[in-house]
């Protein structure tokens, strides 16, 4: 093995060699620089490989031929190897990305660059306190120098000011550090970090103050809130490639330094580190919210991430041996993603977040961006996900709930601004200036992407080794979904075929595993999904990005039903959430709606995570089935968290505001996916929850009962809102909210028939909502509008769509003889045994209202007056019609023989609710209270109907269809269909009577919440006045506050 000292030596040799070169030989100098950085990386990589592949113990490297503590020693272990590799590689790649500017500055700038990277490696390697100070000073000066140099590029003085502020701060920091070091030396007689730790510095006379001074100095290097104004200015103004190094490598080095210090400080100082970390994490994320400058935003995000990792370090007392896995996962996620984003920002010309829309024309770069933000947000399969999972679990296991809550809350804010940004990228107007696609800059970004995925794999393997979890990246459905990334250049129809084949094949492979309950969901997710995908054949071209997103969602769904442990379940949950978010975002105007979707979803997901964590109580493995073994006082909390999480997905009232926009603005074939299929994931979660946990008493409130109420109110408000929509897809979306309310209500009834009804809703809602969304989507596609009042009279032009809609609304409304009636019938039977009468009443109110919006849907679109501009409209494309017709067939079949599916489920439910099932006697179904003979109903209605119809046809066989305006209209014949089509504000009387119920109170609540956060962030950030001196005040104030806290906890 090459001694790690060569990392330092090589860098210095190269730096001094550069001094020998002539100023003009810049190309050569640049090559030397890169080769050196590569060499340094190679050394680190070598060591890393040694530690990974063997059980080698960390190696101590002595200098001066003398053993520590008498001479400086370095240590190379797994962590050091990984961190130095990270630092050196970041240095190498950033050096690559900075090619232009380095070449312009010349050899001296390159030397500084090398020294900066070397210094950071030195901070990581050294085990000597004063040596660490020297390396820190080196890093500071190199940083300040690089900032000063990059001023040359921007030439606006901003960078200069930022660098000077940094220098001011570091003067204070180094003063504290030196004083701390010398007193620590005085107390312990050594400068060696391990020596100080062994002599328990903090217990010695004066030792704790000495330690405090060192500690606070290193902490200050982590840019803690509020002593971090300078860092933000640097992030904002410096060369992005430099910021990448500053964020990823400097951050990593400083964190490791803090880690070493905590080794000295011992357990007493852990809470302080945690406190500083969490305050920083929350505050920085909050402050990032109002940012519009991309690099400053990234700066805030960097600071926040560092804070989070500090929290992890501070929680090592409970994280124990897993600290490394967790902190490492978070740190590497942060480093790779942040470096990647900074490099990416070097490609974008504008500095406003909007300007990133330029990326859109480069799918690869968009993919890179997605990778980075998902990595930062800690979504699977990235390392941060594993880390967050373990972290939250261990915190919950120890009852550190407040910390857990703060972490999740802040992570949600972070996800908020990151995904908002992604929305800008995808949807905002592309700026005039194109993306700079210089190969060396792009290469940097791509390396980060590769690193991101490589690390994900690695962390998956590690999780496997440490906790026996499966590697997410090896899950077949996910791999299948990801393979579409590679297939993206293929034409859409081919990919569609592959997708359908894949889903059907997966179903075929796995169908034996499902019990009847899961079978329903499996069929809807996989076969139903494939069916919906038929509609996607209508798309031409390549449809870049569609298939990876859609298949990601389906992969999540497929994994969800197979999940048996909470981990697998949550992974699947996150995957389907992200996939669907990307799908929804594809809609033309869906940017804000996709954002609120992902925020609510992630918020819900975090609730679920917290619930799972609380349930597991620190156990590394927790199967879903074990949820039933939970007891008071834990159980109701777990139930509450999980229920809220799942109800976010089903858009229960209060958490529903994301749904209408998201479903309505999605593309034609996406709406049925997210409505017909995706919503069922939430129901699946609720079913899983209720199956395992049943009724829970929460401070005297029966939570299932509360759910009953929520279900009922959701049904009412959803339906009520639906009738006032002018937008056809929004109407359907609100209707979905209502329908999910029904299903939830059914589940919450907690009896046999209630569940049967909910499952019936699951099936029915899939069929008719997919069908209606496709029908309406087809119409919207042809007419170019979703405003119903602008349509009208399309029945003759789009007869098949009309038929689908007609069948659909009959089914939804529950009018016999179609399948919707079955749901209603079971519903009434189910509630007869329930004691919860008030919520039932609410549900009664909701029932007839459904009728109103359904009629409006079909009337305003297909009936009434045809508008001039739509006279040439054609029937919807074949591929959009085809699935609708299949759905019609399914609806009719289910209407006649509901037993086909329900019987099995009914029998299956017996094991949970032995009483109150249905009896199936041939075609006749009876419950304890009622009787249902679907075939007879169908025949009777059919016979009467056909008789009358044929008679009427016969009588009026000579009737001719009259022209459109051949109606008697106050003795005039109207010639303007616009004024004759009565369609706008259709249910005006209803609005007058009940409009007060539709006041957007919930929206108001949430928008006030977000406004509040935004304003809080906006006001708080004003205390970063930009004055370097003020920042010094902040720093000193911070030092003193921590001192008071720190000394307060000392014994």
């Amino acid at each position: 093995m090459v001694s790690p000292l060569y990392i330092i030596a090589v860098a210095l040799v190269a730096a001094f060699l550069l001094g020998l070169l002539k100023e003009e030989r810049r190309g050569l100098a640049y090559s030397v620089t890169l080769v050196t950085l590569a060499l340094m990386s190679w050394i680190s990589a070598n060591w890393l490989w040694l530690f990974i592949s063997t059980d080698a113990v960390p190696v101590e490297i002595y200098t001066a031929g003398t053993a520590p503590p008498f001479a400086i020693n370095l240590r190379m272990g797994l962590v050091e190897a990984a961190l130095t590799l990270l630092i050196n590689l970041t240095g190498l790649i950033s050096g690559l990305a900075m090619k232009d500017s380095l070449l312009r500055q010349g050899r001296r700038a390159m030397a500084v660059w090398l020294v900066a990277v070397m210094a950071l490696s030195g901070i990581v390697l050294t085990r000597d306190m004063f040596n660490m100070f020297v390396f820190f000073e080196l890093a500071v000066i190199a940083t300040a120098g690089l900032v000063l140099i990059s001023e040359h590029i921007r030439n606006d003085g901003l960078t200069l000011a930022a660098g000077f502020k940094y220098m001011i701060t570091s003067q204070f920091i180094s003063t504290f550090l030196l004083i701390g070091i010398i007193f620590a030396y005085h107390a312990t007689g050594t400068l060696n970090i391990d020596g100080m730790a062994n002599t328990s510095l903090v217990l010695l006379n004066g030792g704790s103050i000495a330690f405090f001074l060192m500690f606070i100095a290193i902490i200050a290097e982590l840019k803690p809130f509020p002593a971090n104004g300078w860092a933000l200015d640097i992030y904002e103004s410096a060369d992005p490639a430099f910021s990448a190094l500053f964020s990823a490598a400097t951050g990593a080095a400083a964190l490791y330094a803090a880690d070493k210090l905590l080794l000295i400080g011992g357990a007493e100082w852990l809470p302080i580190a945690t406190g500083i970390g969490i305050v920083t994490f929350v505050a920085a994320n909050l402050l990032a919210l109002p940012q519009t400058h991309d690099r400053r935003l990234l700066g805030y995000s960097s600071i926040a991430q560092t804070g989070l990792i500090l929290v992890v370090l501070g929680q090592r007392d409970i994280l124990g041996e897993h600290t490394l896995f967790i902190a490492g996962g978070l740190l590497l996620s942060h480093a790779v993603a942040k470096a990647g984003l900074f490099w990416l920002s070097g490609l974008v010309a504008g500095r406003e977040l909007n300007a990133w829309a330029a990326l859109r024309s480069h799918p690869l770069l968009v993919f890179a961006f997605v990778t980075f933000i998902c990595m930062l947000t800690g979504l699977p399969p990235f390392p941060g996900f594993y880390a967050k999972w373990e972290l939250i679990h261990l915190l919950a296991g120890e009852g550190r709930i407040a910390l857990l809550g703060l972490i999740l809350f802040s992570a949600l804010i972070e996800a908020g601004y990151l995904f908002r940004w992604f929305g800008y990228v995808m949807k905002r107007e592309s700026p005039a200036e194109p993306v700079d696609t210089a190969p060396h800059k792009t290469a940097a970004v791509l390396v980060a992407v590769i690193a991101a995925w490589g690390l994900s794999f690695l962390w998956g393997e590690l999780a496997g080794a440490l906790f026996g979890r499966g590697n997410i990246l090896l899950a077949l459905p996910l791999l299948f979904a990801l393979s579409f990334l590679l297939l993206d250049p293929l034409p859409a129809w081919l990919k569609n075929t592959l997708a359908i084949a894949g889903m059907v094949a997966w179903f075929y492979l796995t169908y034996t595993e499902y019990d009847p309950l899961r079978m329903i969901f499996a069929a809807i997710f996989l076969i139903g999904g494939a069916l919906t995908l038929l509609a996607s054949y209508h798309a031409h071209g390549k449809r870049i990005g569609f298939y990876p997103s859609a298949m990601l969602m389906y992969a999540g769904l497929a994994m969800l039903i197979r999940a048996t442990s909470t981990f697998d379940f949550f992974v699947a949950w996150e995957l389907l959430t992200v996939g669907s978010y990307f799908l929804i975002l594809r809609g033309k105007h869906s940017e804000p709606h996709a954002l609120s979707y992902i925020l609510f979803s992630l918020g819900g997901a975090f609730m679920i995570l917290a619930g799972f964590a609380l349930a597991a109580q620190g156990a590394p493995h927790f199967s879903l089935a074990s949820l039933q073994e939970l007891a008071q006082p834990l159980a109701p909390w777990v139930f509450l968290l999980l229920a809220i999480g799942f109800m976010t997905k089903t858009a229960a009232i209060g958490l529903h505001i994301w749904l209408p926009g998201a479903h309505a603005e999605a593309e034609t074939d996406v709406s049925p996916m997210v409505s017909g299929i995706l919503l069922k994931a939430g129901l699946y979660g609720l079913i899983m929850l209720l199956l395992t946990m049943g009724r829970q008493n929460f401070y005297g409130v029966d939570l299932v009962n509360a759910m009953l109420w929520i279900g009922a109110i959701t049904a009412l408000i959803g339906n009520l809102l639906a009738i006032f929509q002018e937008d056809a897809k929004r109407l359907l979306a609100y209707s979905s909210i209502g329908q999910m309310g029904y299903a939830m209500f059914g589940l919450a009834l907690m009896n046999h028939l209630g569940w049967l009804m909910a499952l019936m809703f699951v099936i029915n809602h899939y069929v008719y909502k997919s069908m209606l969304f496709l029908a309406v989507g087809g119409v919207a596609k042809r007419t170019g509008t979703r405003e119903m009042y602008r349509m009208g009279g399309l029945i003759t032009l789009m007869p098949l769509s009309f038929i689908a809609t007609l069948i659909g609304i009959i089914a939804v409304s529950g009018v016999p003889p179609l399948s919707g009636f079955g749901g209603r019938w079971i519903f009434y039977n189910a509630i007869l045994t329930s004691e919860a009468r008030l919520p039932m009443i609410i549900l009664f109110l909701a029932g007839p209202i459904a009728f109103l919006y359904l009629f409006r849907l079909i009337y305003t679109i297909f009936l009434g007056q045809l508008k001039d501009e739509f006279r040439r409209v054609k029937e919807a494309p074949f591929w959009i019609i085809l699935p609708q017709m299949i759905y019609v067939a399914i609806l009719l079949v289910v209407a006649v023989v509901p037993g086909l599916v329900l019987r099995h489920v009914d029998a299956y439910l017996d094991q949970f609710f032995p009483n109150g099932g249905l009896s199936w006697d041939g075609m006749i179904i009876t419950s304890d209270f009622g009787y249902w003979n679907p075939i007879a109903i169908m025949i009777i209605v059919g016979v009467i109907f056909m008789t009358l119809f044929s008679w009427l046809l016969f009588v009026n066989r000579r009737a001719q269809k009259v022209k459109q305006f051949n109606i008697v209209f106050s003795a005039e014949r109207p010639f303007r269909p616009e004024t004759t089509h009565f369609a706008w504000n259709f249910f005006a009387p209803y609005r007058k009577a009940l409009g007060f119920l539709t006041l957007p109170l919930v929206t108001l609540f949430w928008s006030t919440m977000t406004d509040f956060l935004h304003t809080a962030g906006d006001l708080t950030r004003r205390f970063y006045t930009g004055n370097g001196q003020t920042y010094a005040y902040h720093l000193l104030g911070f030092v003193i506050i921590v001192y008071l806290f720190g000394m307060g906890i000392q014994p």
Binding site: Y6, L12, F16, G65, V134, F135, L138, Y1033, L1036
Partner: protein
């Protein structure tokens, strides 16, 4: 003025708190009666292991040689940056309102004196760092003395242009040799920067203490050239 008063008051308040931290440090401070573990080791072993009379030198150059390497690197990059940045400043940036002022001619005495004194000063500097392992002083002090010689030249003739190239070469080569010797120690002696590459010799002689005189000389050259480079860069800068 009110805001300034408030600002000063806050500063005083903050510093009072910082002062309180210092006071508690001071109050808790008890001078050692005996050398602590590390210092005792140095006192006992330096002479035989390293062979320097000046223990501080042994620590600076060998035991904590890595620090020193870092330290010269600090100077190296600050010199580089100062040079680079001020070179950028030399681009035509004449701002109206600050007309170039003619320089005041330097007196005869100073220019002659400087020509006489500079070689002596340089010699003194060299002496200081070559004897660093024996007497107080060493590379840094010697380097600073060399630099003050250059300073004298600059004062005597402000328009004099040093050969940056030469300074750079000296600086780089001495740096390279420094690292190179360190690496040789890694290869052929006990570790990085181990001075026992060469024989320890007799305590108190000039050619003793292994490579320490060599390294300290290199440090002296390097530091001297770095200081000179900084001074030269600053002095060559046009008025901002």
């Amino acid at each position: 003025m009110e805001p300034i008063m408030i600002k000063n008051a806050i500063a005083l308040l903050l510093l009072a708190a910082v002062g309180a931290i210092f006071v508690s440090l001071l109050a808790g401070y008890m001078p050692d009666e005996q050398l602590n573990l590390t210092a005792r080791y140095y006192a006992e072993r330096t002479a035989q292991d390293i062979g320097t009379a000046n223990i501080v030198t042994a620590i600076v150059v060998t035991y904590r040689g890595l620090d020193t390497l870092g330290e010269v690197t600090v100077l190296f990059i600050s010199a580089a940056i100062v040079g680079l940045v001020l070179a950028q400043g030399r681009l035509p940036t004449n701002v109206p309102g600050s007309p170039q002022q003619p320089r005041v001619p330097v007196g005869e005495l100073l220019s002659t004196g400087s020509r006489l004194l500079t070689p002596l000063i340089l010699l003194l500097g060299i002496y200081v760092f070559v004897n660093g392992h024996l007497t107080p002083g060493g590379g840094f002090q010697g380097g600073a003395i060399i630099a003050s010689g250059m300073l004298l030249l600059l004062l005597a003739d402000p328009l004099k242009h040093f050969s940056h190239r030469l300074i750079d070469v000296i600086e780089s080569i001495s740096g390279l040799l420094f690292v190179g010797i360190g690496v040789l120690g890694l290869l052929y002696a006990g570790g990085f920067l181990d001075n026992r590459l060469l024989p320890i010799g007799t305590l108190g002689e000039l050619f003793s203490a292994g490579v320490i005189p060599l390294i300290y000389s290199l440090i002296g050259l390097k530091v001297g050239s770095e200081f000179s480079s900084m001074l030269a860069s600053l002095s060559e800068t046009e008025e901002a």
